[in-house]
């Protein structure tokens, strides 16, 4: 959310729609089906605090545990494909390792320090997409 709001405050990226949401829910499937590329941004409790990971995501409905509260990027892409017949040509998940998941308005130090690197990776991905289109 912090990254998305930061990008919004910087007046966004040309041609990119920024969506801030606490959860990925099935309602985003329709919006995804219209996108050329999707970049999901999330925090993780399973990688080192402050680590930035980027990996490609493909549609996958095989995982159990889908709920109306939260759907994974792969499941959301699978919903888009199943219901609307289309998914973005390229999709990525950018993950920052979190340190603290307690209630707080401030980011922890490792996460705060990782924000510029995460933003740089997102801009790289967007730039690559522009090059492919070009």
């Amino acid at each position: 959310m912090h990254l998305a709001r930061h990008m919004e405050a910087m007046q966004g990226e040309p041609g990119a729609e920024i969506v801030c949401s606490q959860q990925w829910t099935p309602e985003y499937a329709e919006r995804l089906s219209h996108a050329e590329m999707a970049i999901f941004v999330d925090a993780s409790a399973t990688i080192l605090p402050g680590e930035v990971q980027v990996r490609a995501v493909s549609p996958d409905s095989s995982r159990q545990g889908v709920t109306s509260h939260s759907v994974s990027p792969a499941q959301l892409l699978a919903l888009a494909q199943q219901l609307y017949g289309r998914v973005p040509a390229r999709s990525f998940l950018v993950t920052i390792g979190g340190e603290s998941f307690a209630h707080d308005r401030q980011l922890s130090t490792p996460v705060r320090l990782a924000i510029p690197a995460a933003l740089a990776r997102i801009r790289e991905l967007l730039g690559e997409n522009q090059s492919k289109k070009g």
């Binding site: 949401s21 606490q22 099935p26 309602e27 499937a29 329709e30 409905s61 159990q64 889908v66 109306s68 509260h69 499941q75 699978a78 919903l79 199943q82 219901l83 609307y84």
Partner: protein, 473 residues
Amino acid sequence: MGKTITIDPITRIEGHAKITLQTDDHGEVTEAYFHTTQLRGFEKFCEGRPFYEMPYLMERICGICPVSHLLASAKACDMLMALKVPPAAGKLRRILELAQLIQSHALSFFYLSSPDLILGMDADPKDRNLFGVMRKQPEVGRWGIRLRQFGQQLIEILAGKRIHPGWVVPGGVNEPLSIEKRDKLLAQLPEVIEIALKSLTWYKREMETFREEIRTFANFPSLFMGLVTVDERAGFYEGKLRFTDSLGNIVADKLEPVNYQEFLGEAVELYSFMKFPYYKPYGYPDGMYRVGPLARLNLVDNCGTPLAQQEWVEFRALERSAVLSSFHYHYARLIEILFALEHIQEYLLDPIITKTQARYSASLNNLEGVGCCEAPRGTLIHHYRVDEQGLMTWANLIIATGHNNLAMNRGILQAARHFVRAEKLSKGMLNRVEAVIRAYDPCLSCSTHADGHMEMCVQLVAPDGRVLDEIRR
């Protein structure tokens, strides 16, 4: 030998709960208990806070129906300030509430309950979920997503964000509606009204395959309660409380919500964190009543909008008096979605909706305030007391799901007696018992004002503690 069967957790509901079934020596279910297993504490930790913080604190009770808490709380604060809101703000608050109704009912019907309705109660749990629905009936899946999306977008356009918006304030709302936003919303309505109608047509056909469930899912006489307006419509944002019985007779009418303690009692049972409200004149537990979509459609003789009215007439023809089976909450939810869409259209076409006077201001003028509205799941009451400085000294909330607590307990007993055979458990049997609870669309996080994770395990346990049979996932 008598056994105890536990369903823990109940799946595809909001919040955390379990069911315990007790059988006799012949394997017949004799008792059933619906346990709400989480405790939130909102009524306690708000003590000492300024009253004007309450709407923003209370809406965080829930992520699905925050608007209901926001509105009930704001109305209680309006009473503390002795304020009426400007006419435009009143209509905007009503639109917000109806928008939430749409997205909440869509979630309940299409995401949580349609796996049972489309794939069948006996389907493999691996498939009996949202993805299973999308594979088998993608069009129905798209309807559900679109309806939920519309409700959420409407909330976002009005209030700034979909979950826990801050737009409703004591005295009104903090921003009027622009003509551009109004026109954008009006343009979308024909499409979503069409989807609501298609959903009803589809469901009325599908319903025929669930005759046994209709007959046995909490199908019993009870009182019904809800808000009714002066023009005899279901009153989502305002009105006076009415009780009717299973024959459709009015038992009590024009009851002021501010006096709720005169006719509503709250009992406590050791096996659940959720309270047990009851209609005081009938005592506990005979004063059981139901609230929510089924109740609201039973309480009135007029649905109030043209297309929903036609559907309501057909719905009421299901039975000669009140519609009693809780399975029909699903049907009632779809009718309410249609009603809400038509009603939103009426409000948006009203010229005052874009008036710029959005809020009145005042300071503290009363030391006690009660706010009442109809949440998607039923009547919601927020009751506050403050000191001379406006700091909270006491709060009591009666939550929609709580009103249905007695009925849910009785409902699972009825279903379990019909479907469960203790000598051999099956997932389909237990899913039907869970499905009774789903029909009520409980919001358990609201009703106890937790976050917990429990492994899914159903065990047959002998009185001496031996595990006789077990199902895990």
